[in-house]
């Protein structure tokens, strides 16, 4: 019995030493953060064929690593190199499994292969507009809690923070950065399930004050007061003047598009079967997911609704998309899809679709979720 004991003791010792050495190495690595950040950047680069509609000036991966490294120590400034003119930045949640997992990242639109990671902001979903951003964060552990963080999109300092009552789902900034909206699941786990409840809040960014819970809005339909116990709201998108918004109101298994008036705390139903609306920059159209049922399953086909003519146009995307779209410009939109076709993957990629409904969707960014496009000075 002596020999097995010795072997086992030796194995235990070897394990402890290996683990200690590895943890020590991981610790030094996370302190100067070079390895983690460059891993993230390079794997992202490798997997990213940025099929951008305009130009694609790809740089060697080495320089991408260098940039990724930079973000670790001190917050990098978006648009740092082109400070004299407005630059378009794509913000997203990074999904690759490495030291940057879950972090908010941004990359210049022309240089998607050079992401910067914000070490202080890990988000389930995020949105940036008007120089400010909202990040719905999870503190994971045996008991996971969620919080909303409002931050400055240049310094990434948190302006205000408050706890959330449920699992983060959607969030949006107004284009002037003054208001934010968010939706969480109070119970339930996804829009495809039968029973779930959501909470949708409007927030004043400056002080993090909740200015409205959409449940308290008075809703009208065809001029009549409309109210039901099973009302659920989600997916707010602000109008450019930040006085109104569009959102989804679900009741009795129907999903209406509503237009809300923030000052009046009122909303009216304007269309049927519209989920997660997203208003185009010119405020003339709403991109959304339309719920269809195929073989007893929920299937969401992306559509565009012309707000003047009420005409619905399906997009060329033939897969079911469960996301709130983000307009890149008046003709292109971004959205996330699971990595694997059958939806079994835990990661997502960002895709780009054209408004014309004809050109096929293109892969925009890999291992990324929750895209937003921000023009920063």
């Amino acid at each position: 019995m002596l020999r097995p004991n010795r072997i086992f003791a030796a194995l235990c010792l070897a394990s402890v030493i290996t683990l200690a050495a590895y943890i020590l190495w991981a610790r030094t690595r996370s302190i100067d953060n070079t390895a983690g950040a460059s891993n993230g950047a390079s794997s992202l680069t490798e997997a990213t064929p940025p099929t951008i509609p305009t130009t694609d000036p790809r740089l060697p991966p080495n320089s991408a690593e260098a940039h990724g490294t930079k973000a670790g120590g001190e917050p990098a400034t978006p648009g740092g190199s082109t400070q004299n003119k407005t630059s378009r930045q794509i913000f997203f949640r990074y999904n690759g499994v490495d030291g940057n997992y879950g972090r908010l990242a941004f990359a210049p639109y022309e240089r998607l292969d050079q992401p910067h990671f914000i070490e202080t902001l890990s988000c389930e979903v995020a949105h940036v507009a008007g120089g400010r951003g909202i990040c719905l964060a999870a503190n994971r552990g045996l008991f996971t809690t969620y919080a909303a963080k409002l931050f400055d999109a240049k310094t990434f300092k948190v302006i205000a923070e408050f706890p959330l009552k449920g699992v983060p789902s959607r969030c949006r900034m107004s284009s002037d950065g003054k208001l934010a909206a968010l939706t969480v699941f109070i119970s339930g786990h996804g829009y495809a399930s039968v029973n779930f409840t959501t909470q949708t809040l409007l927030i004043e960014v400056d002080n993090g004050r909740v200015i409205a819970d959409l449940e308290e809005f008075s809703v009208s339909r065809d001029g009549q007061t409309f109210s039901n116990k099973d009302f659920n709201f989600w997916g707010v998108t602000f109008t450019p003047d930040t006085r109104h918004f569009y959102a989804t109101l679900s009741t009795n298994r129907r999903h209406f598009l509503i237009k809300g008036d923030i000052a009046n705390a009122s909303a009216s139903v304007i269309h049927d079967n519209v989920e997660c609306p997203s208003l185009s920059p010119d405020a003339s159209r709403v991109a959304y997911k339309k719920r269809l049922t195929v073989d007893g399953r929920v299937f969401w086909q992306l559509h565009i609704l012309d707000l003047k003519t009420n005409q619905e146009t399906p997009l060329a995307e033939k897969r079911s998309v469960d996301d709130q779209l983000e307009w890149l410009d008046n003709n292109h939109m971004l959205y996330s899809l699971p990595e694997a076709e059958n939806g079994s993957s835990a990661s997502t990629n960002i895709w780009l679709a054209a408004v014309d409904g004809a050109s096929p969707p293109r892969l925009f960014l890999k291992k990324a979720y929750s895209p937003s496009m921000a023009s920063l000075p």
């Binding site: 194995l11 996370s30 499994v97 999870a138 495809a192 079994s344 990661s347």
Partner: protein
């Protein structure tokens, strides 16, 4: 030997042996197999809980898709390899080596995780491969447990093993959470830790567990060379075994996957998915706590009764899920406690009953057949539950499953009484 005599002497003084005696009588080999599972479960559960698969899959999939992936994935892995592994173990009489192959395979999977870098797709494929390792090792290992245990202690032995196994499932996620809290985002440290635990598990099996002793085996009733697919018909000729497989299959169809029970609890309770990892840990804790008492009771008061009692507990969980108006935190904890109790009363006890019904020469094959039947039942159950939930809502699914479970329990009660009446330890 010394220990056995001591217990014999104590028995003479006090005719009714205490539960402590009963536990002490469980062979050290079973304890060692238990420690192997303990270490291996720490290893695999820390990976499973760290991959945000739980949360992400729950957030992005409908119940039907979730059920399909979880149930079918699990079921297929077991169906594909467990029967082959069981037959190989029986035919070669090398249970230990086959089990080692299964444990080793899972250990290698942990190394592959490190090699996969940050590619999600590969990580998911590898956790799937890990389950194949589980499929390989389960039947030979359970056969070794039973071959090292006298018939009257069968349920106690399985209970000891399952308690250690559940203990690993309890500590694995805790280890993962502590590591990730200390080193945020350092998934590779997790994979390395997990690999080391897996290696230690393999080492315990390799170094400390002897091959099944011939002395414990009953007289051979079959020519060894004839243990093959054809001779499986001998197993199926035994009404006792067939009824056990049938009961196991029926009952597993009527049992909702843990994941669904957690989802219903979340939806009813107004709790968010943040609780989910805690649910898994709480269930494992309850299982670890109740396993040995349930096994001891099974050996003492009748395995069939405890087994059906376990499913009755599942029935109670259904009733609670249906009729509790609003589920608070204490009620949720209560449901999880009951879920652990259900596992304690059913899982190991069924294996003990099956071990008593299968000749030693075919033990691994017989247990593999049973495991396969249960895995198929679970896969069907997951698909069915997901489909009903999607189409008609969670309450309809629970009512349907309650009905199936009741029917299955009636059938099982009838079968077990019929075949078990002839045997003292059914």
């Amino acid at each position: 030997m010394y220990r056995l005599e001591w217990i014999e002497r104590r028995k003479l003084k006090a005719p009714a042996p205490t539960f402590a005696d009963q536990t002490a009588k469980v062979s050290p080999v079973v304890w060692k197999l238990g420690w192997t599972s303990f270490l291996t479960d720490i290893s695999s559960e820390m990976v499973n809980s760290a991959l945000p698969v739980y949360l992400v899959i729950h957030l992005h999939l409908s119940p039907l898709q979730y059920g399909a992936i979880d149930g079918v994935y699990n079921g297929l892995a077991v169906v594909l390899v467990s029967l082959a592994a069981g037959l190989t173990a029986d035919r070669s009489k090398r249970h230990k080596e086959v089990a080692l192959a299964g444990y080793g395979f899972s250990a290698i999977c942990k190394l592959l995780l490190l090699a996969a870098g940050g590619v999600w797709g590969w990580l998911i494929v590898i956790t799937g491969l890990d389950r194949i390792g589980k499929g390989i090792r389960t039947a030979p290992r359970d056969a070794m447990i039973s071959l090292n245990t006298p018939p009257h202690l069968m349920a106690s032995a399985f209970a000891v093993h399952r308690a250690l196994d559940a203990g690993g499932a309890l500590l694995g996620p805790l280890t993962a959470f502590i590591l990730l809290a200390q080193l945020p985002g350092a998934f590779d440290v997790l994979w390395v830790t997990s690999f080391l635990f897996a290696i230690l598990g393999v080492a315990v099996l390799w170094l400390y567990v002897p091959r099944p002793k011939e002395g414990l085996l009953p007289q051979p009733i079959l020519d060894e060379r004839r243990i093959s697919r054809r001779s499986l018909s001998v197993l199926f000729a035994s009404p006792h075994f067939v009824s056990l497989v049938g009961c196991g299959l029926l009952l597993s169809v009527g049992t909702a996957n843990d994941g669904f029970i957690y989802l219903v609890l979340l939806e009813k309770g107004g709790a968010n998915s943040g609780f989910l990892p805690l649910f898994y840990v709480a269930t494992a804790a309850s299982y670890a706590l109740f396993s040995i008492p349930a096994g001891l009771c099974a050996d003492r008061f009748g395995r069939g009764a405890i087994f059906l009692g376990g499913y009755a507990v599942m029935g109670i969980i259904y009733l609670l899920l249906l009729f509790m108006p609003a589920v608070g935190l204490p009620a949720q904890a209560g449901c999880l406690l009951l879920l652990g109790l259900y596992y304690a009363g059913t899982e190991g006890v069924l294996m003990a009953m099956a071990s008593a019904a299968v000749p030693a020469q075919m033990r691994a094959s017989g247990l593999a057949i049973l495991a396969t039947a249960i895995a198929m039942g679970k896969a069907g159950s997951s698909l069915l539950f997901g489909w009903i939930w999607n189409a008609y809502g969670a309450p309809s699914a629970i009512v349907t499953f309650g009905a199936i479970l009741t029917a299955a329990m009636l059938a099982a009660g009838f079968c077990l009484r019929l075949v078990g009446g002839k045997r003292s330890h059914a």
